[in-house]
């Protein structure tokens, strides 16, 4: 790729980026969210057309904006969010789109033989006749890779492939990648996790603000340098506070006992947890194992089928307004789709949770002056940039949108402090500056006496913030133990479903 430039309006997403990839190597593409990684790969794959620049694959120019040509030239892409049809078999998924519409009979037998051959050659073991719906996330990712290989990919692009995997599954993916590279595959590995980049790649290309800021052989650099390149300054995240003592569970602020809930695809089974005032309990787990449902139940959005939730010893009622009134600060996983109403003005989103309370309305009439004054205070206190009261909330960047949501729940309109915080993936997709801000605010709220439930796929985040950690798998929550008592391997095993694999027990166990 030579001199790729792409603008969106005034924003230059890619500014004169050149990238060379050789057969038999893994090139890591590193950068913050919004650095231009996804745009660059979308141009390679023909989803976008570059304003300037050319692409050559194996010496032949690739016509811009033509996904089929990219496929034909041997470029395969594995997206972070899988593009598989759940109700079809592995074989069907792999064959999808490879046969012309005019064909009356499908060549299933031949395809099956070829798929087996490809699977064997790459060491990707998956039953071709299994339904995708029955596969684990790791297996689905293998299917995605097989799909690309089946189509003859010689350049493989992996977009944040480890985001959905357990540490063990990630290791197995890396083993596969190493084998493929030995066979001459060229791999572009997109990530913002420095450990993985150091582990798997031969060369690193760092993007920031749409430009290439550094290119280096992985062996010649280190994590600290990569992080500096990535953020452009030497701020690294907050440090873990050592040796925090907690006797919090003696009198729990939030207490959940015997909780069952039905979420359609996942069920919560007999979930129990206690969080004390001034404590952060981290829930680790591969996403989709019931953490979302637990957050929804605690947020008052879903109803449990059994069990009790108590705050300071008093049962928590079912609906959102009463949950909010009891002092639960709720930070949802998907800030765009659930956290804010993007088309409404910023001040209305800030006031949304409290609009029906006497602080902000009387007899059904919004107390506009009071509401806007409150909104102005929050915007200032939480440093929400690019915001005016009347501006559409959609116009905010992800980080500022998250600051808005945090402000709404932490600095409440009625002036009370939150008693319980339910934060689900609070820093997903944010840049380091915003991540630090969110982490700082969560710690501050904890120090002010809130019981914090932190649910995250990101083990680094959990280990950084949590006082105790429990792991969720298949809708069951394992015992909570002091953060120092866990090793990465134990967390990984627990995430894979072996919740009782922890050898040392009774360290502050909650259930």
């Amino acid at each position: 790729m030579q001199g790729i430039t792409r603008r969106f309006g005034d924003l230059v997403a890619n500014d004169d980026i050149s990238l060379a990839l050789h057969a038999g190597e893994v090139l890591a593409l590193l950068g913050e969210n919004g650095a231009g990684k996804s745009t660059l790969m979308s141009i390679l794959f023909g989803h976008y057309v570059a304003d300037a620049g050319t692409i050559e694959v194996f010496g032949r120019p690739l016509p811009p904006g033509d996904t089929r040509a990219a496929l034909a030239a041997g470029v395969g892409m594995v997206h972070q969010h899988f593009t598989l049809a759940d109700n079809l078999t592995v074989l069907d998924n792999v064959m999808l789109g490879t046969e012309g519409l005019g064909r009356l009979v499908t060549r299933k037998a031949a395809a099956l033989a070829r798929l087996r051959e490809v699977a064997q050659g790459s060491g990707l073991a998956v039953d071709p006749l299994a339904r995708v719906a029955n596969l684990s996330v790791g297996e689905r990712q293998r299917v995605e890779i097989l799909k690309a290989l089946y189509r003859g990919a010689r350049v493989l692009v992996l977009d944040e492939p480890t985001a959905v995997l357990t540490p063990q599954e990630s290791q197995s993916l890396f083993a596969t990648l190493r084998q493929l590279v030995r066979q001459g595959m060229a791999v572009i590995f997109i990530s913002h996790k420095l450990d993985e980049v150091m582990d798997i790649s031969r060369r690193v290309l760092v993007l920031r603000g749409g430009r290439v800021v550094a290119e280096s052989a992985t062996a010649d650099t280190n994590k600290a340098e990569l992080a500096r390149w990535m953020v452009g300054q030497s701020v690294i995240g907050l440090q873990r506070e050592a040796g925090r003592v907690n006797d919090a569970t003696a009198r729990p602020r939030l207490s959940v006992q015997g909780l069952d809930a039905d979420g359609g695809r996942v069920h919560l089974k007999n979930v129990a947890l206690d969080i004390g005032a001034g404590e952060i309990l981290g829930i680790a787990g591969v996403s989709g194992n019931g953490q979302g449902l637990l957050a929804q139940v605690l947020s008052g959005v879903s109803e449990p089928t059994r069990g009790t939730i108590q705050i300071d010893g008093v049962a928590l009622g079912g609906h959102v307004p009463s949950v909010v009134a009891r002092g639960v600060a709720r930070v949802p996983e998907d800030r765009q789709a659930v956290g804010v109403v993007g088309d409404l003005p910023i001040w209305e989103n800030l006031c949304a949770e409290a609009l029906h309370t006497p602080t902000l309305s009387r007899l059904g009439w919004v107390r506009r002056a009071a509401a806007q004054a409150y909104a102005r205070q929050v915007l200032q206190a939480f440093d929400v940039r690019g915001a005016t009261l009347e501006r559409r909330t959609r116009a905010l960047s992800g980080g500022n949108m998250q600051k808005l949501i945090l402000g709404r729940v932490l600095q409440r309109a009625d002036g009370t402090a939150p008693r319980v915080i339910v934060a689900h993936q609070p820093t997903w997709g944010l840049d380091i500056g915003a991540v630090n801000f969110v982490h700082g605010r969560l710690r501050a709220a904890r120090d002010a006496g809130a019981a914090v439930l932190l649910i995250s796929d990101d083990l680094d985040e959990i280990e950084l913030l949590a006082d105790r950690i429990a792991v969720m798998s298949h809708g069951r929550l394992g015992p909570a133990r002091a953060a120092e008592a866990w090793t990465r391997e134990q967390l990984g095993l627990a995430m894979a479903g072996e919740l009782d694999a922890h050898p040392r027990s009774a360290v502050g166990a909650a259930s």
């Binding site: 309006g9 811009p64 033509d66 789709a337 109403v341 409404l344 949304a352 949770e353 009439w365």
Partner: protein, 354 residues
């Protein structure tokens, strides 16, 4: 070819899009007039003067705008909450029937009280008619577009049966029409010697009231939040079921009122042809007004002007008045296209051979 979101939208862009939409409508209409063999410029000027050129023309336009304003508001409040009420036509007839049932002489009460009862009955009739589809949507996920649309035909058949049966006016020499409203209940004329009546004040008042409701009340916030992003609204604590029911009552009630106001202001009794599709045209008006209650007032006067002007032009030079339908329909398409193109940019890419 693909659509791409524009980063910035200036008010100049919006104006330009509106102007282009207007040009597109004029061009379509001009082509049809020319095809009909009539002089284009004269046809347009006859339409304009027939709609707005004299006191009489204006009075006819405003008379026509009254029910359109109310059905336009009915569509506006429903669409704001993403409750796609296509049933305003049936709700209008239900309201008209309820108005005559209360105000046709069956109840003996002082006129002001009876008038209030009549409006209430009409609004309730329309509201109940939409409540069913709204509840079916909430409870079982039944598509309200289908249920409200089909209810229109059921209501029309039901009204037909009533007009030929229990509510038939025995003195109407066999015509299927209802008994007439009591004279005391009829709306007075705004301008002497014309048909325009005080229903114009009622409908404009309804537009202002709806604007205030949507902008300044908690229910208004609930409605807008629910329509813009129902998941986020529910997460923030908007009572989804209650809000949806309120929207159904408001929307159906406004359409029912349109029926009562038509009877009290213009027709005096119910016939099966009292509405030439006001309920459906209300949807067009709501879209033209971009779901803004105050803009509905202007949009309904404009659409009424096109309809009235085309009738008048047709009487003068014989171009079919169906031209009005073409103008209204192409205006809707042009405005929707224009609003899309202000938000997105069409990009033509060189697409390689496949």
């Amino acid at each position: 070819m693909r659509l791409e979101a524009r980063a910035h939208i200036t008010s100049a862009d919006v104006l330009r899009a509106g102007g282009l939409a207007l040009l597109a409508v004029m061009a379509t209409a001009a082509a049809l007039v020319a095809a009909a063999g009539a002089p284009v410029a004269q046809t347009f000027s006859l339409m304009a003067s027939g709609a707005f050129g004299s006191v009489f023309a204006l009075s006819e336009t405003f008379t026509r705008a009254i029910p359109l304003m109310l059905t336009g508001l009915a569509a506006t409040v429903a669409f704001k909450a993403r409750l796609f009420n296509i049933g305003a036509e049936g709700q209008l007839y239900a309201g008209a029937i309820a108005a005559v049932a209360v105000g046709g002489g069956a109840i003996d009460a002082p006129a002001p009280l009876l008038f209030a009862l009549m409006l209430l009955a009409a609004a309730l009739a329309g509201a109940c008619l939409l409540l069913g589809p709204a509840l079916m949507k909430l409870l079982w996920g039944v598509d309200e577009v289908v249920s409200t649309l089909l209810l229109n035909f059921i209501v029309l058949l039901g009204v037909g049966a009533l007009l030929d049966g229990p509510m038939k006016d025995a003195t109407a020499m066999g015509w299927p029409q209802s008994v007439a409203l009591l004279g005391d209940l009829e709306l007075s004329k705004l301008v002497a010697q014309t048909r325009v009546h005080t229903g114009l004040l009622w409908s404009t008042g309804a537009a202002v009231a709806l604007w205030v409701l949507l902008r300044f009340t908690t229910l208004g916030f609930d409605i807008r939040a629910l329509g813009a992003n129902s998941r986020a609204a529910a997460f923030a604590g908007v009572p989804v079921t209650r809000t949806m029911v309120m929207v159904a009552l408001l929307s159906g009630g406004l359409a029912g009122l349109a029926g009562a106001i038509e009877v009290a202001g213009r027709t005096s009794y119910v016939t099966l042809d009292m509405s030439p599709g006001y309920g459906y045209t209300g949807i067009v008006i709501a879209m033209l007004a971009a779901l803004h209650p105050l803009a509905v007032v202007g949009a309904s006067v404009l659409v009424a002007g096109v309809l009235v002007g085309a009738d008048s032009m047709s009487r003068s030079i014989g171009v079919p008045s169906y031209l009005a339908d073409v103008v209204v329909a192409s205006a809707l398409l042009a405005v929707l296209t224009a609003s899309m193109l202000t938000r997105y940019r069409l990009r033509f890419d060189r697409v390689g051979r496949t």
